[in-house]
Point group: C2
Chain length 399, copies 2
Amino acid sequence: MNIMPASPGCLAGIRVLDLTQFEAGTSCTEALAWMGADIAKVENPKGGEAGRTGFGDAYYFMMYNANKRSITVNLKSDRGLALVKEMVKKADIFAENFAPGAVERLGLGYDVVSAINPAIIYAQVKGFGDGSPYEKGLAFDPIAQAAGGAMSITGERDGRPIKPGPTIGDTGTGMLLAFSIVSALFDRTRSGKGRRLQVAMQDSVMHYSRGMFITQARTGAAAPRRRPSDNPPGGIYPCKPGGPNDYVYLLTSRANPEHWPRLLKLIGREDLISDKRYETPDARLQHEGDVDEIVSNWTRQHTKHEAMAQLSAVGVPVGAVLDSMELTNEPSFRERGILQTMKHGERTMTMPTWPVRFDGVPTEVRPAPLLGQHTSEVLGDWLGLDADAVAGLRRDGIV
Amino acid sequence: MNIMPASPGCLAGIRVLDLTQFEAGTSCTEALAWMGADIAKVENPKGGEAGRTGFGDAYYFMMYNANKRSITVNLKSDRGLALVKEMVKKADIFAENFAPGAVERLGLGYDVVSAINPAIIYAQVKGFGDGSPYEKGLAFDPIAQAAGGAMSITGERDGRPIKPGPTIGDTGTGMLLAFSIVSALFDRTRSGKGRRLQVAMQDSVMHYSRGMFITQARTGAAAPRRRPSDNPPGGIYPCKPGGPNDYVYLLTSRANPEHWPRLLKLIGREDLISDKRYETPDARLQHEGDVDEIVSNWTRQHTKHEAMAQLSAVGVPVGAVLDSMELTNEPSFRERGILQTMKHGERTMTMPTWPVRFDGVPTEVRPAPLLGQHTSEVLGDWLGLDADAVAGLRRDGIV
């Protein structure tokens, strides 16, 4: 059964003055857009924000700017800056993630903006926090993942550190800021107060990586890249036919002693159920290599899909390692509205929507805007400018 | 300058009936707690939630249950269940992440809870979405990371898939749900309506990994584990003295042609600045091995801290690979209030707080509760029960 996606509408009527670029900031305002907020993405008339033009095609921009409106304004002109300051008066939220110091140089620093609109929620992403030795440093997702601990805990047991593929430094940061913005917005319904929010990408990566501090508290040493399973079998096992992603991740839990015998029954090794070498978690830990071999001998004879279906059916926690194409081709994601296809000019891209369903309904993906697509519309809605006024601004190179 | 941490107070007065366990659910309600919500964590009197007891010590529980209150209730008893239903009447938010079907078997499914309190926001974490072939499957963080695509894009270029260390399946999911909850709460100030929110860990992992769909749109093929840099140098480089985490991640951007000559000047290789082999991004891509060697020859002679400081100072984006101990020992995290030390019974653990600062102030970490520490307090605050009434419940084994 296909479900028709829709906006949950939670933030309908909320106006966001969006000066974000690339991913950390744009993913934050995109989350607000998916909740129904009105995002006015302010872009420079010469090509738009850096992420729109920096990667040779539109896909990157499309991914992080769904459901927004685009308005071009020349912020280097006095009239352009004045126009945006008029928009500040009407905005509930201001968001930016320029390099350190840049928003102040533009003339839209916190002091200026909050003086114009004291009830505004002013939200900023930085690479490193104020007070960090690197507070002036440039950050991109992998830089934050290195400096925030994520790489130190990712990799093979004796290999070098590896960058996690998910963009924890970028989208991860954007999610923490989006939650904080909406919390401040809720509070403002009672207090009327604006707030200043700042988050550093390095600190955000530490948040998602904080399991490392648990390990460190236990052992007194830095968390390693990959611990031995505390309850073998547990980890990644090779499957048929041996392609780069033909693996399953399976685990057995100390909290549930049934997982191991369930697994043995499934793979036809009931003979090992009361074998002393494998009977307890500690015994299996002593024979971890053997245990992995017993499991691999079975997984190698099955595809990851077969292995996942069969292990899952007997109640062993398991996941096939799925790649982007396999996820795209799995029909249930489209049926459930979790994957949707965006059109943007001539291009289309299949992408995930907001994953939380509201009352069973997935969130609708609407196209990322073309550059300046909504300049007239936004200036009309926000400031009441008519077509002639906008035409004048356009003629003078202001928008 | 040390800053005194405090709660931003955004959700003060909001009551959360918290039936979460392990990490995906608990990290969600912990985020609400950090914003000042009153979290009543309902635990079974025999040992508490699974994450409190399942790992041999308290550190795991401490990490994900800061700033909450704990109340024990025997949900298997009729009077215990009735007590929790009384709490449903007073709650703004209900949260759970039991295995599929378990909350319904407890008698606290959506239909029951929303009938008692139609304005409640009912929030659930599942492993796989309703309608997925694996909707009944068990999920833990690494299972979701496998099935949600994260492992397929993490690892060495020709190596096997690697599990990212950060808990994207758990804390990552919790953050998306927390944002959705607060969005629904904001909307409720206007509509008065409750909502039913559901998120699957597999779908959440796809959200953080969605960069893979950009690559796929470009190439028509599944996103690979590690792409060559599109603008060498870019990646992880070895540093002195060669320990497991002695690396820096540095990158040069196509959008900024100055990064490469800045780097060459710093490392004393001005001679290469107009060398045709390295002058353009495309030329460097053709000589990627040489370029990496030029950079490594310099990084190997410096510690990662020296390399980061020097590269950062000349405006090249860089991050040292820092591990949990190095982050703990870097004083600015404590001075900025980003790392704080929690006391819990006899134990202490240094851990990150909520990374977003509100008006320059970091969020205060208060101790995760001992089992049932706040039973009397919560029953007094929420239901007006006096000490005698609570003593009676305790005598009868209900709380």
